[in-house]
Point group: C2
Chain length 295, copies 2
C-alpha cells in the first residue's frame, strides 16, 4: 500500500518519521517546501511530491495533518484531480465535525474513503508512536489500514460514522482545557506557598489528581519554559469549534463553563504575544493571581 | 513499634486493614464504636481500645484519619493524657496547615512527634495500598516509620517542616477540583453528542487528556453511579480551606477561578441533597447544560 504524508508540522513530522522508519512511507508534501526537503534528506528513500495532485495520483493511503479546517479543504482540493478510486485519506488534523462530514461526502463521490482520525498524546506521543487515535468513517476501511496505524499509535478506537472521530476530539480538547486550568492553578498556588515544586509534581502525580499534563508539562511550566507542545492559538481554535458545537447542542445561551473561561484566558495570552507558546503558558496568568501589587 | 489507628471511615478502614494484614497493627479506635467492633472481628488479633487516652498509652505509633480540623483537635485532645514521650502521631486526614502546625507545636511540648501526612489516591488507593503520601514535620521521624508506611503507600514524599504536607494536599485538592470540572464537562458534552461513552473514556484516557479521575470515575458517572469515593461535602470543605489560604497569599480579593467555580457548584449539589455523593456528582450539573427546557 503506497503511503504518503501531507503536513510536516510539530505533530505531522514525527508521525511521518515513524512511518518512514517502519518502511511504510513513499512520499511527503508540505505547504512550505523547506520542511519537505529537510524531511526527505533525513528519511531516504522517501520522496518529495511536486504537488498534492501528483502525490494523490501516486499513493493509495494518504495521511493529512494540518492546522485548521481551511488548510484541510485547500489541500484536499489541491489533491482532487489526482485522486484514484479506492484511495484512503486519513485525516489526523483537528477540524470541525461539519468539515469532516462534508469532505467525506464529497470524496465518496470520487470513490475515495475519508477517515477523520484525530490524535491525542502530544508531540511526545507523536515522536514515540504512542498516540491515541479516535476514528470516524467506515470501520472496514479502518481495519484494513490498522497495520500501518500501529506505527503511530498504541490505541486506535473506532467511534462511528464520519465526524465521530472529530466529535471525540472535541471532547478531548474540552478535557484538556480543564486539566490545563487544574494543573496551572494548583501549581501556581504551590509556588506561592514556597513548596518544592519537583516534589509537589511527584507526589501529586502519584495520587487521585494524577494526569498526563502534570507529568509532561509540570516541570517545564514551573521552570518558565513554554515551548510547544501544543500551541495556545491552536487550542483556542479548537475550543472555538466546541463553543460553536455547543450552540447546536444546548438551548438558549448556555455555555460550557470551562470552555468559556479558557477561551477568555487564551485570548488574553494571545493578545500578550503568547499565541505560539505551549498551552501550559496559562501558568503565566495563574501566577499573576499571587503577584504583589507595586507601590 | 506498637501501632494504632484512629478513624475507620472510607479511607481509614482500608488503610488500617492493610496494616493489620501486614501484622503491623495493635489497636484501633473509632468515634462510633460499631465500626471498631466490626473491624477487630475481621482482623484478629487487633484489639479495640476503650478510649483514645488508653490507646495513646499503649502505642508508640498512632495513625489518625478523620474528616475535619475539629475532629482532629478533639481526638488529639482526648489522647493527650495517655501520650508518652517518643510517641509518633501520623495524621493522614486533610486539615488546615494552621491546625497541623498548632498541634505539632503543642505535642512537641509533650515530647510527641506529629507528622502531617495527608494522602491521595482515592478509596481504591487506600484498599490497594497504593496511596501517595505528602509529609510535613521531622524528616528523621518520617524515615524511622517508612517501613510501616510501605504497607499503605507506593509513594511517600517529604515536603518540609510541619504543615508542608497539608499545604501540598491543598495543591492536590485544587488540581482535583479542576480535573473534576474537566472530566464532567467533557463527558457531558460527549453524551450530548451521542458518542459511545465507553469508547470515549478509553480513547481519551490514552492521550494527553488522560488522568486518574477519568480512568476511575468516568464509567461510573456516565452510568449514574455516584457512590463515594470522595464526598462532595468533604471536597467542599477542603476547597474552603484553599480559599482561606488564598486570602493570606494574594492581595485584594483575588480568587482562584477553578476553586471559586467549584465551590459554587458543590454548594448547589449540597443544597440539592447530594453532599454525601462522590465528587463526580458534578456530572449532574454539567449534564443539565444540555437539557431541553419543557414546554
Amino acid at each position: 500500500m503506497k503511503t504518503a504524508f501531507i503536513g510536516l508540522g510539530a505533530m505531522g513530522r514525527p508521525m511521518a518519521a515513524n512511518l518512514a522508519r517502519a518502511g511504510c512511507l513513499h512520499q511527503v508534501w508540505n505547504r512550505s517546501s523547506e520542511k519537505a526537503v529537510t524531511f526527505v534528506a533525513a528519511h531516504k528513500p522517501v520522496a518529495m511530491a511536486a504537488t498534492p495532485a501528483g502525490l494523490a495520483q501516486d499513493n493509495e493511503l494518504i495521511f493529512t495533518c494540518v492546522s485548521a479546517d481551511k488548510d484541510l479543504r485547500e489541500v484536499i482540493g489541491a489533491m482532487q484531480h489526482g485522486l484514484q478510486p479506492g484511495t484512503v485519506i486519513v485525516d489526523t488534523s483537528t477540524v470541525s465535525v461539519d468539515t469532516s462530514r462534508e469532505l467525506a461526502r464529497a470524496l465518496a463521490g470520487l470513490g475515495v474513503e475519508f477517515l477523520d482520525a484525530p490524535v491525542s498524546g502530544g508531540v511526545e506521543g507523536a515522536i514515540n508512536g504512542t498516540l491515541s487515535m479516535m476514528v470516524g468513517g467506515d470501520e472496514g476501511t479502518l481495519d484494513r489500514i490498522r497495520p500501518v496505524l500501529q506505527h503511530l499509535t498504541t490505541r486506535v478506537v473506532y467511534m462511528g460514522p464520519s465526524g465521530c472521530g472529530q466529535a471525540t476530539k472535541a471532547v478531548n480538547q474540552i478535557m484538556a482545557a480543564g486539566i490545563n486550568q487544574a494543573v496551572t492553578e494548583a501549581l501556581a498556588f504551590a509556588e506561592a506557598m514556597d513548596l518544592d515544586m519537583d516534589r509537589v509534581i511527584d507526589v501529586v502525580g502519584g495520587g487521585a489528581a494524577g494526569n498526563w499534563f502534570l507529568q509532561h508539562r509540570g516541570a517545564t511550566m514551573t521552570q518558565d519554559s513554554f515551548d510547544p507542545g501544543f500551541k495556545v492559538a491552536l487550542h483556542h481554535k479548537d475550543l472555538g469549534l466546541c463553543k460553536a458545537m455547543m450552540k447546536t447542542l444546548a438551548q438558549g445561551d448556555k455555555g460550557l463553563p470551562i470552555v468559556e473561561m479558557t477561551l477568555i484566558h487564551y485570548q488574553r495570552l494571545m493578545e500578550e504575544g503568547f499565541a505560539d507558546e505551549d498551552i501550559s503558558a496559562l501558568y503565566r496568568l495563574k501566577r499573576r493571581l499571587f503577584e504583589k501589587d507595586e507601590g
